[in-house]
């Protein structure tokens, strides 16, 4: 790899631009392209043509995790999500919850959840995690999430809490299939109790949604 290629890949990452490196495996000749099927699938691929082999290595911007509710579980979850490579944003209009001392090294916003979510525009590489337990905060964010392509949407709360959440969204005109996208109660059922355990069940569920073949 040429140093100029390395610098270009890192510059694209800093600008959150998706780029694909294409390298000829015999000569080592390389180039960078903005569009390739490997970027769409986020899988490196080897292509053979005329006896030459070209390796396509995608570098997509990091997956994102948008966490609504700067609560205790969110503190554990941000640490794990960063380790898994997610770019994390915590959304909570309550500034007492969102203090920098509680959430070091992650993006934070105290905008109203619907405004923050609209601005952050979840896409198919985004997971949305609702943790505030307060419909005033969670629901406006959830509404934006359900209209987006987010690959994962999860909401904290008991079965009963989730049943009333479903009723609220039915009343707002969302159909059952759309509401079914919400993972509620959130997380894999591993009997989690502590905030760190609940965060573990959430990152496991998100990983399953991301990686399991469908």
């Amino acid at each position: 790899m040429k140093r100029a290629t390395l610098d270009a890949l890192l510059a694209a990452a800093a600008d959150k631009r998706a780029v694909c490196r294409v390298v000829d495996l015999e000569s080592g000749d390389e180039r960078i392209v903005d569009e390739a099927p490997a970027l769409e699938s986020d899988r490196a691929t080897l292509e053979e043509a005329d006896g030459r082999r070209a390796f396509f290595q995608p570098f997509n911007p990091p997956l994102r995790m948008l966490i609504i509710g700067a609560v205790h579980v969110a503190q554990a979850l941000t640490v794990m999500a960063k380790e898994l490579g997610y770019a994390v944003t915590v959304i909570d209009p309550r500034s007492a919850f969102l203090r920098a001392e509680r959430f070091a090294d992650v993006d934070r916003t105290d905008d109203w959840p619907d405004e923050a979510m609209t601005r952050l525009a979840p896409d198919r590489r985004t997971a949305v995690v609702l943790l505030s337990h307060d419909p005033k905060i969670d629901d406006p964010a959830l509404e934006v999430a359900l209209k987006s392509d987010a690959f994962y949407i999860g909401a904290l709360g008991s079965k009963r809490t989730h049943a009333s959440r479903r009723e609220r969204f039915e009343a707002r005109g969302f159909d059952a299939a759309t509401i079914d996208r919400i993972h509620g109660p959130i997380g894999l059922d591993i009997g989690a109790k502590s905030p760190a355990e609940i965060a573990t069940s959430i990152v496991a569920e998100i990983t399953a949604e991301l990686r399991r073949p469908r």
Partner: protein, 104 residues
């Protein structure tokens, strides 16, 4: 792919080290790391990242040291290990192809 490992490559290169990059370019059957996985090797044989579950990294680091000298890239293939022959290979039963190149 994450660019974290490439940042390490840049930092080592900036510090005046020779650096090689090994990348999984193809896998067959059960393999521990997918295509695109990288191992970054420094001239004092310090390495970060992985191309397998730890089965073949030692061999790849040796090859990387040679590639740093020769500059020409090479492609290595690793299959199932032959334990009796003390051969380097993968315990999982898969096969991987690894592209090793110098950072120039």
């Amino acid at each position: 792919m994450s660019t974290e490992l490439l940042e390490t490559a840049r930092a080592w290169h900036d510090a005046g080290h020779a650096v090689a990059i090994a990348t999984v370019v193809r896998t067959w059957g059960s393999s521990p790391r997918p295509a695109g996985s990288m191992l970054i090797v420094r001239d004092d044989l310090l390495f970060v990242g992985s191309v397998s579950g730890g089965c073949v990294e030692g061999r790849v680091v040796d090859e990387a040291a040679q590639v740093m000298e020769a500059k020409a890239p090479r492609t290595l293939t690793f299959g199932v290990s032959d334990e009796e022959a003390w051969d380097v290979g993968l315990a999982c039963g898969g096969t991987i192809e690894v592209f090793v190149e110098a950072l120039t």
